[in-house]
């Protein structure tokens, strides 16, 4: 008798920024089939940008595409618009953009590391990592005036300068991270339990990563050295000469599993610290905006015609904004956003196949999507036509149980 269950996960939860449905076919504990349904919600962000807002208003709308990558999206959008209008961004603004983008990467990767620890039941590590993350949040608040929605981008530059004192504060913050990096490294990369839960779990081979167009840390962890900052440098990255991080830089081997994704992200935190320090030391002086008069800028944008593509390496991978402007019209003629998680969702299929239900949280979290989609799961027993619900708590409990089991057996 076939004992296969189908478990749909998702699609909706109020806290989701990427609502998605997962259908898992399980035989006992093992996952034997995975199906993914995207496009579960439509927020109309692109529509508003094309119908209601002018380009300046759309910067703040782009910021709200994602709560965590809210530098990458406006960055990408203004980049695209600057390409249409041929606005030359002053060098100092380029460096400030780089610094803010890297601060965002540090905060996003630490947030992710905490979530990953939480998913496998290590809440102490979760709190510890997030406590470390507070420091970068304070820096962001100090530099931009707000913790989350930074509102620092403007077409043709940035809206706030980094003062002498600000630079000193950032340097101090970066020293703090360098001092504490070995602790994070110790916790995540040398802890036997984390290794047991993540080594050879959720494997994405290099071939699959290339075939499914994975981006960002997910692709890099599978040994694909791709990074927009390296391949098509923007802002100040060309001066820095960045090199994409793959796990073999750390221990000489590529598994493409969850553990490798942890390695890549933690090394990237270190790399970001390095970039920020470098950018502060080499920051040119000068103006931070190409066109200070916003009214003139608005008229210029109204006259502009053409199309532009912005590409930015967000913490989760490559982000793309496509923008088309028509002369005489203030809203975009078309605006298309491709967020990185879109590419990183399909790789879930090879990652989850052959795994266990207890691994779903950590494997899905390892690509760094929004995890609230696991909040409600309905299990359909196809043989008995019976439905019952698995809540996020149940899944989480299963995950913790597995960690405990492994800890017991490992000792």
């Amino acid at each position: 008798m076939s004992e296969n269950y189908t478990i749909p996960i998702g699609p909706l939860h109020p806290a989701l920024h990427e609502p998605i449905t997962l259908k898992l076919e399980v035989s006992g504990e093992e996952i034997v089939g995975v199906d993914i349904f995207c496009s579960q919600v439509h927020r109309g962000i692109e529509w508003i940008g094309m119908n209601r807002n002018n380009a300046i208003q759309s910067i703040y709308l782009a910021e709200r595409v994602c709560g965590i990558c809210n530098i990458s999206h406006p960055f990408c959008m203004v980049d695209a618009v600057e390409k249409v209008t041929n606005i030359e961004v002053p060098e100092r603004a380029q460096y400030i953009r780089t610094i803010i983008a890297e601060l965002e990467r540090i905060h996003s990767h630490l947030l992710w590391a905490g979530v990953a620890a939480h998913e496998i039941g290590f809440d102490t590590v979760f709190h510890y990592t997030w406590a470390l993350r507070e420091s970068v949040m304070d820096l962001v608040e100090y530099l931009t005036g707000n913790r989350v929605t930074k509102a620092i981008f403007m077409i043709g530059g940035v809206r706030r300068d980094i003062s002498e004192e600000g630079a000193k504060k950032i340097k101090e913050g970066m020293r703090f991270y360098l001092e504490n990096f070995h602790k994070i490294e110790e916790i995540y990369l040398h802890d036997p339990t984390i290794r047991m839960r993540t080594r050879d779990v959720g494997i994405l081979t290099k071939k699959d990563a290339l075939k499914l167009c994975a981006v960002g840390p997910v692709a890099r962890a599978s040994g694909v050295p791709k990074d927009v900052r390296q391949d098509y440098p923007y802002a100040a990255y060309a001066d820095y000469g960045l090199k994409a991080i793959t796990p073999d830089m750390y221990n000489g081997e590529v598994h493409g599993d969850v553990f490798d994704r942890i390695i890549v992200r933690l090394l990237e935190v270190k790399q970001s610290v390095d970039i920020i320090n470098w950018a502060l030391d080499n920051m040119p002086s000068g103006s931070i905006l190409a066109e200070k008069n916003l009214v003139k800028l608005k008229i210029m944008l109204k006259k502009a015609e053409g199309e532009g593509v912005g590409r930015v390496e967000a913490p989760r991978g490559e982000d793309i904004h496509y923008v088309r402007l028509k002369a005489g019209e203030e809203p975009f003629l078309s605006w298309k956003i491709r967020a990185p998680t879109y590419n990183n969702v399909l790789p879930w299929i090879p990652m989850l196949l052959g795994g266990q239900i207890a691994d779903v949280p950590i494997v899905a979290a390892s690509t760094d999507p929004c995890m609230s989609c696991l909040n409600r799961v309905t299990v359909v027993d196809t043989n008995k036509k019976k439905e019952f619900e698995i809540t996020k708590e149940y899944m989480h409990e299963q995950s913790i149980k597995k960690t405990r089991r492994l800890m017991r057996n490992g000792q």
């Binding site: 703040y60 005036g145 707000n146 509102a151 809206r159 802890d191 608005k298």
Partner: protein
Amino acid sequence: MMMHEVWKLLFKKPFTNKFPAKYAPKNVHSYLRRVKSGKVKLVPPIPPPPNFRGKIQYDIDSCVGCGLCAQVCPSKAIEIVRDKKWIIMHCKEGATLAAPLKIKIYVSRCVFCAQCVDVCPRKCLHMSDEFLLANEDKLSRDLIIPGP
């Protein structure tokens, strides 16, 4: 390693600032009344950083009603209205009595981007430090600038 950290944390002062009180009061309104009468003391919040973007402030007298702020506001929080005060306006046909254009800001819609502050030619808008803005009534007196 982790155990060591946990031990250290056990003896440290908690990182969290217990604003506004050490334990959440059962009834916020009665708590606030007691604060007002001086019976209990509020735990102060962590001061916001310089250049923090809080509740917007508007100097109605220097506003010329150009409407630029409403044009760039991403959340359409600014409405252009006629002033309640009538003034004598001098135009080609001679002096007439008219109400000049002013703005009205709905703070409940504001996303605190400060774009209007940047664009205003008369510098009559600026962001304050005030951040305690939660209210059940989105059109309450405190959340409309200038007041009704």
